[in-house]
């Protein structure tokens, strides 16, 4: 359905272009300009909704957007041409130049062409670099492909503007270079042109902001059924905690941190007893489930980022921050710290293994819980035994998967 819309848009845009080209130069057409702007924005919308995996709608939308931009530029060219023909002042500009530029500070002829050529080289070189460079984002492994799509839209809009401005500059530098007897125009302002440019810019900006805010809204709205787990950061290592069989993470406080209790869990909180603790080891995550990543730091700012996930958030000591994602591709990915946290910042690495639910369950079974950790210490062993005998449970109980 959306692909058909993309094709229809291309045809409409091309039709509008032919119509604009065929019109007599010197006439204004606000209607055509407005229609073209809307067509262009709809094209972007279609491209965004199609995403990279539906190429017809995607490229259809983008190409029609590009055609619409060209049409608007052509209409602007008509406005320019009209403006050039207008006369200024009561008399024609005089040929005589009373103040003569000094020959010893004047530029030689070659420099003028060199500048225009250099500008074109910068524009063309930048575009070529973009398409030829091997340095692009790493393949995504989460549901945040929307972010990539928004980046592509931004690239198109800003790329077109960048090329257009540099090309126009190259044209001006070449065409309006100083020659003997040449005189510049005198035009303090041109309200119509400035108005057009403001509107066009606002539309372009809105075209980027709208998809961006739409995806941001998704980013900050955690799904109801997201399973929670915690990443705890400290200088300079990662630790992880899963909620265990009861599906609830135990409460914690940095004040409780000790060698026996490295996560600072409240020993009295029953929810924390079965929390699965992972220290100095890889993180494993289940495939295709919405996950809410709770982030905690016990000393300074850190940031938990896996480039394939496209989502990150700082850890702030004293608060619990979060983001959410759905891992969509199995594999082993690297964790890096993305907020300067001292000398060891560059070495604060880890690995996350995304695997099938069943493999993830099996892995969880192999890890220690908080209760077992307490049991390992001398005092803890006695306390855990007391706890176990008074409540009739054994110290090594089942640890379930993530919540629900």
């Amino acid at each position: 359905m959306i692909e058909i819309l993309g094709i229809v848009l291309i045809l409409l845009a091309m039709g509008a272009g032919l119509y604009a080209v065929g019109r007599v130069p010197g006439s204004r057409n606000w209607g055509l300009g407005g229609l073209t702007a809307i067509l262009g924005l709809v094209g972007l919308f279609v491209a965004a909704r199609s995403g990279v995996y539906r190429p017809v709608g995607y490229y259809g939308g983008l190409i029609s957007f590009a055609i619409c931009v060209l049409i608007v530029f052509y209409l602007e060219k008509l406005v320019f041409d009209e403006a050039e023909k207008r006369k200024h002042g009561p008399t024609e500009a005089p040929a005589l130049e009373r103040w003569r530029s000094r020959p010893d500070i004047e530029v030689r002829r070659t420099t003028k062409h060199v500048v225009a050529l250099a500008l074109i080289l910068v524009a063309v070189g930048s575009v070529a670099f973009h398409f030829l460079s091997p340095w692009w984002w790493t393949p995504i492994a989460s549901n945040w492909g929307y972010v990539d799509d928004t980046i592509i839209i931004t690239f198109w809009i800003t790329g077109v503007v960048f090329i257009a401005i540099i090309a126009f500059m190259a044209y001006c530098v070449f065409r309006y270079r100083h020659r003997e007897g040449r005189r510049a125009a005198y035009e303090p302002e041109n309200k119509k042109l400035e108005w057009w440019l403001t509107i066009g810019t606002t539309l372009g900006v809105a075209g980027m902001l709208a998809p961006g805010l739409f995806v941001w809204d998704r980013f900050v709205s955690v799904p109801e059924d997201a399973a929670e787990f915690e990443v705890m950061a400290q200088q300079w290592q990662w630790s992880f905690r899963f909620p265990g069989e009861d599906g609830v993470l135990g409460t914690s406080d940095s004040r409780n941190i000790s060698p026996e209790n490295p996560f600072g869990l409240h020993p009295d909180d029953p929810n924390g007893q079965d929390d699965v603790l992972i220290q100095g080891d890889d993180l494993h995550l289940p495939l295709d489930r919405p996950l809410k990543v709770l982030l905690r730091s016990i000393d300074v700012l850190h940031d938990f980022y896996v480039p394939e996930f496209r989502a990150k958030m700082d850890m702030v000591p004293g608060v619990v921050t979060y983001f959410w994602l759905i891992p969509t591709r199995a594999g082993t990915f690297e964790i890096l710290c993305f907020e300067l946290c001292g000398v060891g910042h560059y070495g604060m690495r880890g690995y996350v293994v995304v695997e099938e639910e069943s493999a993830h369950q099996a892995w969880l079974q192999e890890q220690s819980t908080f209760a077992e950790l307490l049991a390992q210490t001398e005092n803890g062993a006695r306390e855990a035994a007391n706890l176990a005998s008074s409540e009739g449970k054994s110290a090594s109980g089942q640890r379930g998967g993530l919540a629900r």
């Binding site: 009561p90 005089p94 005589l96 009373r98 000094r102 530029v107 420099t111 500048v115 250099a118 500008l119 670099f129 340095w135 984002w137 790493t138 945040w144 972010v147 800003t158 503007v161 401005i165 500059m169 001006c172 270079r177 100083h178 040449r182 005189r183 510049a184 125009a185 005198y186 035009e187 303090p188 302002e189 041109n190 400035e194 900006v205 980027m208 961006g212 805010l213 200088q235 940095s254 941190i257 000393d299 300074v300 700012l301 940031d303 480039p307 496209r310 989502a311 990150k312 958030m313 700082d314 702030v316 000591p317 004293g318 890096l336 993305f338 907020e339 300067l340 946290c341 001292g342 560059y346």
Partner: protein, 602 residues
């Protein structure tokens, strides 16, 4: 409806002489001088000197990034210290000081037709406080532990904890130096604002001022309002460090040891810092905007296109700059719903900025472009500023910032938009006003070499760097090491960037040599070699003497952009040229007209 740029006849009245200080000795003329022109040169020398230190630090950083595991004298601690000092020096001690203290002090009184700043003694003090701030900053290199390595953003808690270099003494000296700088800049800033508001000469309305003055004026207002946020943040962090208060310090267990802090908020510091930090980048950018408008109009012999819109845009950008700060904090852990507001305001601020870009380019259109060195730098500014501004649109869109924040994309963005573009304006401005300040021209061949290497080189450094950011290469990393997601070719790109950086650095040495050599051996410039209409070129003496204007201050009859005026025979009309001396063109420039002698001779 009368437009501001139309000439209105103002009868030349007697302007009472201002009671002016009169320096008598060498010390009061050149050292403890109250003359804004001398103060400007003092600011400029000091800023450029400390800027060279920061430039060398950047070479050390590029050595490490381009050739990791090669230079044993650059360890992870030293690297962070280089990063921090390079950033802080460049943003605050070079760019802010040079644009406001250097160009502001020299150009504002001359461009508005005043004899000097309105508070000359305080102006003098402002420089010496600035110099003290620089010396305190340099001292941090020599204390045990060295300078702070907390990043120029100085985020707590790490900035004052032992895991970060310089937590012993370096951070304290940094904060003290910043506080001193802010005090000095408040003194200077009051001068610039009040001089523009109160000391303009007769006929010089606000809407006849050159855009250089508008840019520096609005930037100074931003500085006066924004620096206090940094000041209080610095004071609070100093108290946290020295007295174990907990403004920014929550409960912390550092390396297994519970520290004596609690209940503070690290995010509070970020809000304070960026409430200053975002206007700060406009404090750097707005003077550049104003100056480049003047460079383009003079060297294209064409009035700046849309002057009123340009003034409006400067003011609106200045105002909006105060409501965008948290776009530096999208992933900071602040309330995520703030992201909607700040993304919207950030993208709105793109509109007046884009209008300025269009107007610069439209000034070139139908102009009479002389491709001299200042114009080359102005063109280079437009290209790099558009590039840097555009990547800002990526980062300002909250969700796009999520994968890109703290990557080399951010580093490339802010270098392009704040490091390359305004620096190109500084160079262009120096080539443009050097003949006024010294009476000599800078060497043209060295200037062109400097331009081409700097412009193309800086573009080749920072444009590809964005793609490292897309790859996911983080910033502030001592070394990347082996990763599964970064190809080996990225290391080659890093090497390339480093090599180009050294070449660009070499070109700056050529520029410095040019500055010194031309002061003694440069061609004599004569009066107003560029044919500029603004007031600073119309002084009786070149370079301008004490009191700027001689016996009588000028009277202004028109705006600063009367170039190629139809109906006038002169190629340009100086602001203080009386209307009865404008030669009408149908006379084909008669020598016998009374104004003929007042026109600049060949």
């Amino acid at each position: 409806m009368a437009h501001a740029y139309e000439t209105a006849y103002v009868p030349p009245a007697e302007v009472p002489d201002v009671e002016l200080y009169h320096p008598k000795s060498f010390i009061t003329k050149y050292i403890f001088s109250q003359d804004a022109k001398v103060i400007a040169i003092q600011y400029s020398f000091t800023a450029i000197a400390i800027g060279i230190v920061a430039l060398v630090l950047s070479w050390l950083m590029r050595l490490q990034l381009g050739f990791p595991e090669t230079f044993s004298f650059i360890g992870p601690e030293a690297y962070l210290q280089f990063v921090t000092m390079h950033g802080m020096i460049m943003v605050i001690y070079l760019l802010t000081a040079l644009f406001l203290g250097g160009f502001g002090n020299y150009l504002i009184p001359l461009m508005v037709g005043a004899r000097d700043m309105v508070f000359p003694y305080v102006n003098m003090l402002s420089y010496w406080v600035y110099l003290l701030a620089v010396l305190v900053l340099v001292a941090s290199f020599f204390v045990p532990g060295g300078p702070t390595g907390a990043g120029w953003t100085l985020y707590p808690p790490q900035a004052i904890l032992s895991g970060t270099p310089g937590a012993d003494g370096g951070i304290i000296l940094m904060l003290v130096s910043l506080a001193l700088f802010i005090v000095g800049f408040t003194m200077g800033g009051l001068n610039y604002v009040v001089t523009v508001l109160q000391a303009r000469t007769r006929g010089m309305t606000l809407m006849r001022m050159p855009l250089t003055v508008w840019g520096i004026f609005v930037a100074t207002i931003l500085a006066l309002l924004a620096f206090p946020a940094l000041f209080v943040g610095a004071v609070m962090m100093t108290l946290d460090r020295l007295l174990q208060t907990s403004f920014f310090m929550p409960v912390i267990v550092e390396f297994g040891e519970r520290l004596a802090y609690g209940e503070g908020s690290p995010i509070l510091f970020q809000h304070l810092f960026w409430f200053f930090g975002h206007p700060e980048v406009y404090i750097v950018a707005l003077p550049a905007f104003g100056i480049v408008s003047d460079l383009i109009s003079v060297h294209a012999r064409r009035n700046i296109f849309g002057y009123r819109m340009m003034v409006w845009a400067i003011v609106v950008i200045g105002g909006l700059s105060f409501v965008v700060w948290a776009h530096h904090m999208y992933v900071s852990g602040m309330n995520p719903y703030f992201g909607f507001f700040f993304a919207t305001t950030t993208l709105i601020i793109a509109v007046p900025t884009a209008i300025k870009v269009y107007n610069w380019v439209l000034t070139l259109w139908r102009g009479n472009i002389h491709l001299r060195v200042p114009m080359l730098f102005a063109i280079g500014f437009i290209v790099t500023f558009v590039n840097g501004g555009i990547t800002g649109l990526f980062l300002g869109n909250a969700v796009v910032d999520v994968p890109l924040s703290d990557t080399m994309f951010v580093v490339a963005h802010f270098h392009m938009v704040m490091g390359v573009a305004p620096i190109l304006v500084i160079f262009g401005a120096i080539y443009h006003w050097y003949p006024l300040i010294t009476g000599r021209m800078l060497d043209d061949a060295m200037g062109k070499f400097h331009f081409w290497v700097t412009f193309l080189g800086a573009y080749a450094i920072y444009f590809p760097m964005h793609y490292l950011g897309f790859l996911g290469v983080p910033r502030r990393y001592y070394e990347m090491g082996e990763t599964g997601f970064i190809p080996q070719s990225a290391a080659t790109l890093n090497e390339f960037i480093s090599v180009v950086a050294f070449i660009v650095g070499f070109a700056q040495i050529v520029f410095l040599f040019n500055l010194v050599w031309s002061a003694f051996k440069g061609r004599q410039a004569g009066r107003n070699p560029w044919g500029a209409a603004s007031l600073e070129w119309q002084t009786p003496d070149i370079p301008p003497g004490h009191g700027n204007w001689g016996a009588k201050v000028p009277v202004v009859y028109r705006w600063a952009y009367d170039y190629s005026v139809p109906g006038a025979a002169q190629d340009f009309l100086p602001q203080n040229l009386p209307p009865d001396q404008v030669a009408a063109d149908h006379d084909h420039g008669r020598e016998d007209l009374p104004g003929a002698a007042a026109q600049p001779a060949e």
